[in-house]
Symmetry: C2
Subunit: 643 residues, 2 copies
């Protein structure tokens, strides 16, 4: 074991209590016809699990409670999966502090409705939104000196190959970039420093792992010959959000992780077979964790050694195996790992990357220094960069770190979190058979995907909380029909034994998250009016007509709009710009126009605008939707459209 074999017997497994037999049976099913057993269907473990977890939680009660008026210790920033949004959650309370609309339409804030948000989202020639859907998977924060700097969050859209940025002072999306010639874009990670310039000790790039093979360009050619299709790995400039460069690779990227020294980026890969069907994707015994040599790629781009694809002007460097046979000039290093691995994570000490086995019950530990050695031509094979491969349980997906030398891996099939020690795993791999790397296990409910530790993806990993993002909740919450919530299970990892503290629900799918100390986050509590070039002030407020274009410049101050009456003609193109002049924190106003599909809010000192055609004659009441004042209900303005 530990070297990639993929059938399992009970003898191979570490001691895993009641789930041992079940899990093994499930796994063996894969070899036969019963592939569907790999899904989250172990109904029979439920009652035992309840009995096991309840006492632990009671012990924990009180300590992790956030009493009324108390604040949480951490922010959890989560992707919202195929809801297209991002989310801010307080830890340990589990309270959702805010939804951040990104790729979705959010009628509450007016995201996808206001002119400003439409410009960020992208529109068709007729002004309609290009997309109204998204699939966010991974949220990561910008770094400085190896830890979060509280400046930006980045989040991907897998469906339409977009990367979005959220500015953390206002917690709003301010840029969206579509990656050219990429489909099924999944893992992302910001860099932590520059590989060349030591002065740049902060995030300036975001790396994006392309997943699905498609024709390059995807214009209708080569449809019947997927062997000619390709996958691109992309680098986006964090400040401009332009795509800097792309690398054509073999295989499908899953997750992405960056080294603390800025030199290398890792992406675990399945389908290195470059197949177009499921059997083909699982044919090879090994897949890979590919490492990108950032300095070398950027030197090639600088030297003009790249191509472009279709209409895109982004430089594309060839990172396929065949073109990178010589380590000393290679831009990529494909380290073989177990087939179809899932997840790659960098340890906070900067030394290791851990890939999880998924179909193999192992985690693979790769040492950064050895990959660098390979790039220097001083390591015999890529596989020699592997320094450990402990057996940890069934269906390992993602690994988090506590900053004390321990790794915590989610086991999808076992429905467990397993805690194991990296140094012990290395010692075992070196041949010390007396070492037992696995330190503890805890059942979670059920089928965990990502797991994240407080500050765990920084050099300040503090080992306080592990949050398990469980894909199935089954019977853990009151029934609400065929669509179940998912479970974010919070685990106290301060002691030797992990203890489940609470089950929080999540609207599918809170795919991945990061947990940030609260002192890092510095938000504005009201906007600066002058940040909005179109702000409406007393001197420019009013109604201006130019031909059939009418610009209504309005101010709000509780409980009134500055214009009680607005008159336009049928057929006019109307722009309403609204500035909220209230300065009191939390004093938000809304602006809805019945039958005109207009609904948005303006926070204190904020300005937003909408443009629409006044095509329906009649009287319409613009009204405030965001409860602002005792006379909120009376806060309205007449909007008259003359026939």
């Amino acid at each position: 074991m530990g070297n990639g074999k993929n059938t399992i017997t009970t003898d191979d497994l570490p001691q895993t209590s009641r789930r041992r037999f079940l899990g093994t049976g499930t796994m063996l099913g894969l070899a036969g016809a019963g592939v569907s057993l790999l899904s989250g269907c172990k109904e029979d473990g439920t009652k035992a699990a309840l009995a096991e977890s309840a006492p632990g939680a009671k012990t924990a009660g009180g300590f992790h409670e956030v009493a009324p008026g108390q604040l949480d210790d951490y922010y959890l920033f989560a992707s919202g999966g195929h809801s297209g949004e991002a989310r801010i959650i307080g830890i340990p309370s589990g309270r959702t502090l805010r939804r951040i609309p990104v790729f979705n339409i959010d009628p509450m804030v007016g995201w996808g409705i206001t002119n400003e948000s439409k410009a960020i989202l992208g529109t068709n020639p007729d002004g309609s939104l290009k997309y109204v859907t998204g699939d966010t998977h991974h949220v990561h924060g910008s770094y400085k000196d190896g830890t979060y700097d509280g400046r930006w969050l980045f989040v991907n859209d897998k469906i339409n190959a977009r990367l979005a940025r959220i500015r953390m002072d206002t917690m709003e999306c301010d840029k969206i970039t579509q990656l050219p010639n990429v489909m099924g874009f999944h893992g992302i990670f910001p860099d932590k420093r520059d590989p060349v310039d030591p002065k740049i000790n902060y995030t300036t790039r975001v790396f994006c792992g392309g997943e699905f093979h498609v024709p390059l360009p995807n214009d209708g050619h080569d449809l019947d010959d997927p062997s000619k299709w390709g996958v691109l790995f992309s680098c986006v400039d964090a400040a401009t959000m332009d795509v800097r460069w792309q690398v054509r690779i073999d295989g499908n990227c899953d997750l992405v992780a960056t080294s603390y020294d800025g030199t290398l980026v890792a992406s675990n890969q399945y389908n290195t077979e470059n197949a177009a069907d499921q059997a083909g994707m699982m044919a090879a015994e090994r897949d890979a964790c590919v490492f990108f040599n950032v300095a070398r790629i950027e030197q090639l781009v600088k030297d003009g050694k790249f191509t472009t694809i279709g209409h895109s002007k982004v430089p594309v460097v060839d990172g396929r195996k065949a073109a990178n046979g010589d380590p000393k000039t290679a831009v990529t290093c494909y380290v073989p790992v177990g087939k179809n691995p899932h997840g790659v994570n960098a340890s906070p000490d900067g030394k290791y990357f851990v890939c999880s086995g998924k179909l193999s019950p192992t985690a693979t530990v790769i040492e950064l220094a050895l990959v660098t050695k390979w790039f220097n031509g001083d390591l015999k094979t890529e596989r020699d960069a592997v320094v450990a491969e402990p057996e940890i349980g069934l269906g390992p997906l993602h690994t988090a770190f506590d900053g004390k030398g321990n790794a915590y891996t989610t086991l999808f099939l076992d429905s467990q979190i397993v805690k194991w020690n990296v140094d012990k795993a290395i010692a075992q791999y070196k041949g010390d058979k007396s070492v037992k790397p696995v330190l503890d296990r805890v059942d979670v409910h059920y089928q965990p995907g990502h797991g994240y530790i407080s500050m765990g993806e920084t050099k300040e990993a503090d080992g306080k909380y592990f949050n398990s993002g469980n894909k199935f909740s089954k019977d853990r919450f009151l029934p609400v029909g065929p669509l179940h919530p998912e479970t974010e299970q919070l685990i106290d990892i301060t002691g030797d034994k992990m203890r489940i503290v609470s089950d929080h629900t999540a609207y599918p799918e809170p795919h991945d998250a990061i947990i940030m100390r609260r002192d890092i986050v510095k938000t504005r509590q009201i906007y600066n009016m002058d940040d909005f070039p179109n702000a409406v002030k007393p001197e420019n407020a009013g109604i201006e007509r130019k031909g059939n274009k009418v610009h209504v410049r309005m101010m709000s101050q509780a409980p009134t709009y500055s214009l009680p009456l607005i008159k336009v003609k049928k057929g006019d193109e109307v722009t309403i710009t609204l500035t909220n002049h209230d300065k009191v924190e939390d004093l938000t106003h809304g602006c809805a126009i019945p039958h005109y599909n207009i609904n948005f809010i303006v926070n204190p000192q904020e300005t937003k605008s909408v443009t629409f055609k006044a095509d329906k004659p009649g009287a319409y009441w613009i009204y405030c939707t965001h409860f602002c004042h005792a006379l909120h209900l009376e806060m309205r303005s007449r909007f008259l459209v003359e026939a």
Copy 2:
């Protein structure tokens, strides 16, 4: 006081602790220029509030905690305000169990994307959605025998005057009705039994209070003469969701409440002045609570004594004051209450309706039997139906009942919940000056709107929890930028003193809610495949072409789609119908098509479809978005569009 005067001195106020002076100062501001002080701006009370509430919460700790693996005792069904959705929350945990998309687009489930949901939402001739926004205010459940029957929830859209129904077995919206000639439709309430047929002891009607005056019909005429505009109160058939009838009224309806005996419906009203500006809306000393005599209205409709408006065929009965001078034939009874009241609620004993004063520091108790007496011609004036008007504090908005004779009213300006006894208030109103109706007060954080008690709007009101829906959270949670969450504050009301148990966050705006015992809710946990006439089964699965229309009938079963390869031609109109053949609870699959704006889920045994034009040649990977299986990432199908 107590009879509608509207300037307040400190002497008028009951004992209200530290907020007394503050609140009074705020209120007095209204008389001068400082109307904006009525908004939630009392920053200085914060620290004192924390100090006061924390100990109570600690005492409560443990009892109200929902440990991992334990279930909540109640469902809270909340409107989602201008997010356009409804929400299911567990009580006491505060966990959001599910969002129910109603008037919004929800990329996760595919609401507003699938053919089935578009048919419910309504489309323009070009197939695009008519509206992508909504403003839900009130959620109410269907009744049987004076309590919830767990069949339906109803929720309004104020922006576009729509009423939606949610079936509680699957917790999905199944019908949306647009009310003709109505704008700013706000309060709703289902009836509790039929006023004529005693066998019908369950909900068959939903009453809808129209708010804004508009020309009738609203086609561009009378724009400059708001005095000619009108407001309609509507009755929707609960089973068919057709509009049965409407009543033209004076004033703007706020909330709606129905009597337990089915005879009368109440709606509190502001702007009985029928004014079109804020000053006009506040001119009169008194507004009203209007009562509708359901049997008489329906007799008029049966007798053909109605008109219709514009293109609508819905019968409209005249319920204005001028047309209803004779109580014995009147369909409406306008009971005068303090100006601009807010909220009307029916007591669980069936006897009383309580209107909150908003601008007056009182609640007005109206006795149902006396209103009935008025309709019989046996009561001198409408005002004689008032049996109490206790002074309870500043900015009373909504009242809930514990089933033990006590009322709990939210005080927006005082940021308090006040508990008062209805019988004591009646005794005081009769002249007993020794009686003190107010029993307790608790500070909430901050500016409460609606408040709701467990089962409080049924005859099974159990007096366990009061939930305060607070409009401002200010400093109660970690800062997340200028947009704050709102606070749902849970209060234990089982003892003599109210105790705050927890602060739950809510994404704006959780306007109103009901709290239902969990035994009442019976959901399906998987669908019945045969309920879907378009279900795809092995016998009809595959690809069918008719001219340029291609119907792709596909099945999902973890971890595969039944069709690994789908080929169409550019310009084809493609319909994809997907049936999930997995039967395991919680085993949901997703279906996304990159760049084609397609994203939806199918729960176990469910069928959904999408139709779109294949206008972009190339290779696209249909993939599963809802984590289903260890090989979820590999669950894909090639969708090829030939140029």
